[in-house]
Amino acid sequence: MTNWINSALATFVFDVRRSFSVHRLIVAIGLAMFPPVMLGVVGQITLTRGPIVSPDVGQYMLFALVFLVALVCLLMLLLWATPNVHSELEGKTWHFLVVRPGGRIGCFLGKYLVAVVVSFVTALVSLTGCVVVVDRYGGLEDPLYTLGCLAAVYGLACIVYGAIFSLIGTIFIKRAMLVGAGFLIGVEGILAGLPAVVCKITMSYHLREIGIKWLDWFVPYSKEEYRFQFGPAWPTWMHINCILLMTIVALIAGMIVITNRQYITSEE
């Protein structure tokens, strides 16, 4: 266990250091700045058309903010977490790693940590920019509180989706990113939107519930409509536990797969 943790931390440090390049930094900044710029443009266009009259405008701005930052966050996770095994196989560095006692699991956990940290930092930068922009157009009552709540929700999202994508990366080597995107659309998008019990197995349902609790946010539903369709609210700790449980399950499953699978390089 200690060796796994040490190896994971070593992989984290090594990967962060080797991944730091001007090109990657520009991509990350570009992605992080996309939501605030979009919101700024929308806000500016709205203002030029006259004073804002709808009381829901703040809620809609918040919806756009959540959606756009989620897009950035998930894209970063897809880019960093799903190629965990594939990048090593393609880079022909896999064999150097796996002939070490802590190699396979250290690599898996270390790359998971990198994906979570990089995605969360990008999401946080993006989120901060968005909150500043939305606040400029008078859409938020307490910008700092909103920022704190959303940062926590995105932190949880990075933790759980990072684990799920890492698991996908160990199973589907060549098409991991595609499978990850399919999972997001199919399970976390469509299934989570169904007003049925099955939506409760999705992580976006739990994240949404936490967001609703903390931000009292029901766009595009009314509170009554939402509760009628998705059932009574659970305590927040239940949702957090579901998310953490899913994270642990996905990480353990990933460790089992990566330990037992015989990965073959293209040369072989």
Binding site: H95, F96, V99, P101, G106
Partner: protein, 315 residues
Amino acid sequence: MIELDGVSRLYKTVIGVNDISLSLDQGVYGLLGPNGSGKTTLINMILGQIKPTLGTVRLFGKNPWRRSKLLRRVGLCPALEFSYPNVSSLEWVSYLVQMHGFTRADALTRGKQALELVGLGHVLNQPMTEYSLGMRQRAKLAQAIAHDPELLILDEPFNGLDPVGRFEMTALLKKWAGEGRSLVLASHILHELEAVNPSFLLIYSGRLLASGAPDEMRRILANSPSVLTIKSSDSKKLASILADLSVVRCMRFVGEDRLEVETMVLAEVVNQLPRAALDAGISIEGVESNDQSLKSLFSTLMKIQRGELLAGKTL
């Protein structure tokens, strides 16, 4: 140290390794075979990276599959060429040493020592992308020895090394073996292995054709025919002249102007060829030795396996 009992490995319908049984005690071994003969598959099975389809593998007396702790005692230098941008050899080697459970400080010290040992002490903080092929090869060796393993397995370790580099690598490996540690060298080039003087394991088409001490291999080699390809102005006439030489075993035409001559006494043919050609007024435009002592050797061994040849003499 390494025991294989009836080990076979299939990649779908392709046989990677075919029914290999062997037992290797501590020592120096040369795993010799042409590209695609199953050397890397065999190494991967020994290290527990892939499971044999049939048979059992034991490393230090234990099944290596999912026994990652055994890997602490082994160092592997794979044949694969890799590239990590933005990474110095010291960072890379110390990172890999940390995977063995060493602290960062220990890993850095060991990494530095290993890199100095392979002659990269002056460039250990330089990005590896700026290294030559030979320097990367040495860095690969450094990562394999940095944790001080009992058994070192090197897959094509001489790839990309210049003559000086080869000499230094050989000296290093001899020193390693001289310290009583075990070494398995996989290569497709015979003379590279001969320099380290190992016991040979000859593998071809996934099968272990022969194994034994260097002298034994030389004895088999001495019985392997050599092949010369001669490009001349008149191949047919040349063939009729060479047919009279007793040392020529057989001949075949390769295209219009080339003649392939198989002989057990290469030097004799080479000595007699210029005079014979000159007398007959044939101009020799080129002579190529397919030498490939290894190719000849494997061909001989395959014939022995098929029963076309007895070990040591022609049927």
